[in-house]
């Protein structure tokens, strides 16, 4: 138990210097662990924007630190531990693969708050989880994609077969199919969150197979560039607006806006009101935003898409509303029934109509 003691001693020493922030003398130190580089233009970029927003909001009262390109394995635990040792009061770990390391470190630093993005484990009272309902944005994307495709083939660059990604595929497919019964999805699993070369290859392969719409659940802008090169292919910004590719190929985007959440949680630490909780916010509170729909989209399609967004936002429509069947033809949701969060959180099946298997 020596290690525990050592770390506990260090943590206690830190607490002495660190807790002074309550009376305004010391800064609150906020740490961020990123899976990609801050310049990825997508997922990590938006988390870093959130970090900058925290600095903006609290000025001298906060100090932020971050570590980029942290692999999701044994290294993550060391990085998080070092961050806690450096005196961080709250640490945001922003990728699914940091789940076990985050909980392991949280057990050793009871006075530090931990916030893990997209996971489900809260093993200690100082761990919170948070994620965004990206699938709400995917529904709007699917609608535009279904309307816009001429070849009826939509390419989808998926990252890892985890529920978050599968939810996105299902949501996009359901809403594309609704407006275009002939639509087909061609899904490529890239097994990476960020690898511009791989993503570009996947986009090019999908385009060569006839896709004229590319959806991506990976973080780089490489698929946008590939689509631009091919011409007459539309794409959507992922995680970030990717507005430099508008109006074509990028016709819209899903933007993750973490800033309000980060500011809120850092404030809670400052006020001493921080509590462990699970947050899963969507379009309504603004955690998921739909980027400007460009002029490449006909006005009527744009209006429909915005109406769909509004109905999701005001709660009158749920993205997963029955009747829906699973891929194998078995019943999932009855007419008018909506999916519960538990099923969505662990979603590991395709809806009826999608071809191919989820990799196992």
């Amino acid at each position: 138990m020596l290690r525990r003691t050592l770390i506990a001693t260090a943590a206690a020493a830190m607490a002495l210097t660190g807790t002074a922030f309550a009376d305004g003398h010391a800064k609150t130190k906020v740490g961020f662990v990123y899976v990609g580089p801050v310049g990825d233009g997508g997922w990590t970029y938006e988390h870093d924007q959130g970090r900058l927003a925290v600095e903006e909001a609290f000025g001298d009262k906060v100090e932020t630190i971050f570590q980029e390109n942290v692999p999701e394995g044994a290294d993550a635990e060391r990085v998080i531990t070092q961050m806690a040792l450096s005196g961080a009061n709250i640490i945001f770990t922003t990728s699914f693969g940091y789940m076990d390391p985050t909980n392991a470190v949280a057990g050793k630093f009871p006075d530090v708050k931990f916030e893990h993005a997209t996971g489900y484990k809260r093993e200690h009272p100082n761990v919170s989880t948070y994620s965004a309902r990206f699938y709400e944005g995917r529904a709007v994307q699917g609608h535009i994609a279904g309307k816009m495709t001429k070849t009826n083939k939509i390419g989808y660059i998926a990252s890892f077969p985890i529920p978050e990604v599968i939810r996105g595929i299902n949501a996009a497919y359901i809403h594309a199919k609704k407006v275009n019964p002939d639509v087909e999805f061609n899904i490529v699993w890239a097994y990476t969150w960020f690898d511009p070369a791989k993503e570009a290859d996947a986009a090019t392969a999908l385009i060569e197979q006839g896709a004229d719409v590319i959806l991506q659940h990976t973080d780089s802008t490489a698929p946008q560039a590939a689509a631009q090169k091919a011409g007459n292919v539309i794409t959507f910004g992922q995680a970030s607006d990717m507005g430099e590719y508008a109006p074509m190929p990028r016709v819209s985007s899903i933007i993750d806006n973490w800033a309000p959440y980060y500011i809120d949680r850092v404030k809670a630490v400052m006020d001493g009101t921080w509590e462990s909780k699970d947050t899963w916010d969507g379009i309504a509170p603004g955690m998921v935003e739909i980027g400007e729909i460009s002029d490449a989209v006909p006005a009527d399609v744009k209006a429909e898409a915005l109406a769909l967004k509004a109905s999701i936002s005001d709660g009158s429509y749920h993205v997963f509303t029955g009747p829906l069947k699973k891929q194998d033809g078995s019943d999932w949701l009855a007419d008018g029934e909506t999916a519960d969060d538990g099923t969505l959180a662990g979603m590991n099946f395709y809806v009826e109509g999608l071809t191919g298997d989820i990799p196992q």
């Binding site: 525990r4 630190i65 570590q67 999701e72 060391r78 070092q82 040792l85 097994y191 196992q360």
Partner: protein, 361 residues
């Protein structure tokens, strides 16, 4: 004019001097880079080389972490160095590392939730077998079909990565993980957990195995007939053939040993520091170990030191990026500089720099 003259014998003095010269050169060049990035170069270099060992805030944690980070590198590099000395190029240790982890983890998970002392030893054996079998593929193909082991072993890394993804999504997935990929975590399964032997020291079985491998390789190369054959084959292949060395046996031995050691490294990592089979389990130890092997001049003690140095730059680099906000890419460039200077200065071991006109021989 500056010319390089080949030394009749590698210079003993430079063998020991090159690492020091290289580190100093890296500090200077890296310091200039950090200064251009607007960071205090002295602080940056102190953070990378000094803080992981002696900073009072971090050292108690990061010193043991050096062993944790270095152990798989050393274990794999020792295996690779045997083959490299004999001109047998196993480039696919990363794949053998993955397969060792999968085999070992599968055995451990098969026993879940039984608690017994026998489980961990069985996992260790399975891990070694997993790596061994994966390395035997290029070995057997080379012996019987004369394929190139560089290509076969390298390409099998990608096959192993797909098997790893499949395992974390299918067979070895945690049934209580709500559909998320990744196996159960060995940290919560005592019999299969490769825990620290003495808490707070970083010493787990993988570190012990790395030290044993260093001693074993040293004795093998210095004292054993097989070690002599390995060295002879590398230095004088023709002489080795006339001297009765069986090339097929040597190939299988070298690939098999390096595969088994890489497999062991994978098993110790998955059951210890990493804790679980996941899609992103491998982070390139198998490739970095190639660099470590050459940095250590294919000598067991050299590899031990090289592994520790690499680990230091990793952990120090992390600290520098955390404390000083140096971009991750700059840290990687810094590590690259170290390797570059080591190899560049290494020229002086085998060559003498002479100034002036060429002498007539």
């Amino acid at each position: 004019m500056v010319r390089l003259e080949k030394r009749p014998q590698p210079s003993k003095k430079w063998i020991y001097l090159t690492p020091i010269v290289a580190v100093v050169a890296t500090m200077i060049a890296g310091g200039i880079m950090f200064a251009i990035l607007g960071k205090d170069p002295f602080e940056a270099i102190r953070t990378i080389f000094w803080d992981p060992l002696f900073n009072e805030q971090f050292a108690a944690y990061s010193r043991p972490q050096l062993l944790v980070k270095a152990a798989p590198l050393i274990l794999i590099a020792i295996g690779l160095s045997l083959g490299f000395r004999a001109g047998i190029w196993n480039i696919g240790a990363e794949g053998q590392y993955i397969m060792g982890a999968i085999f070992g983890a599968a055995v451990g998970l098969a026993f879940y939730p039984t608690e017994s002392w026998i489980i961990f030893p069985l996992m260790v054996i399975a891990g070694a077998i997993g790596g061994l079998l994966w390395a035997m593929i290029p070995g057997v193909l080379r012996v019987y079909f004369r394929t190139n082991e560089i290509l076969v072993s390298l390409l099998l890394v990608y096959v192993a990565e797909f098997i790893l993804a499949s395992m974390s999504l299918g067979l070895l997935r945690n049934p209580e993980g709500a559909g998320f990929p990744g196996s159960r975590n060995f940290k919560s399964y005592a019999s299969a957990h490769n825990a620290e032997l003495i808490a707070g020291t970083g010493m787990h079985w993988g570190v012990v195995a790395a030290f044993i491998a260093v001693i074993f390789a040293y004795v093998l190369l210095a004292k054993h007939m097989l070690g002599f054959q390995i060295r002879l084959t590398g230095e004088a292949p023709r002489a080795a053939r006339f001297g009765g060395v069986n090339p097929a046996r040597l190939i299988l031995f070298c690939l098999g040993t390096s595969g088994a050691l890489a497999g062991l490294a994978g098993l110790f990592e998955v059951s210890g520091p990493s804790g679980q089979i996941s899609i992103d389990f491998n982070v390139g130890y198998g490739f970095t170990a190639i660099i470590v092997a050459f940095l250590g001049r294919l000598h067991p003690v050299g590899i031990l030191l090289a592994g520790l140095l690499m680990a230091l730059t990793y952990i120090g680099g992390e600290l520098a990026s955390l404390m000083l906000g140096i971009p991750a890419a700059a840290i990687q460039a810094f590590q690259g500089m170290l390797l570059f200077f080591l190899l560049a200065v290494d020229v002086l071991t085998n060559y003498r720099v002479s100034f002036g006109k060429a002498e007539v021989a």
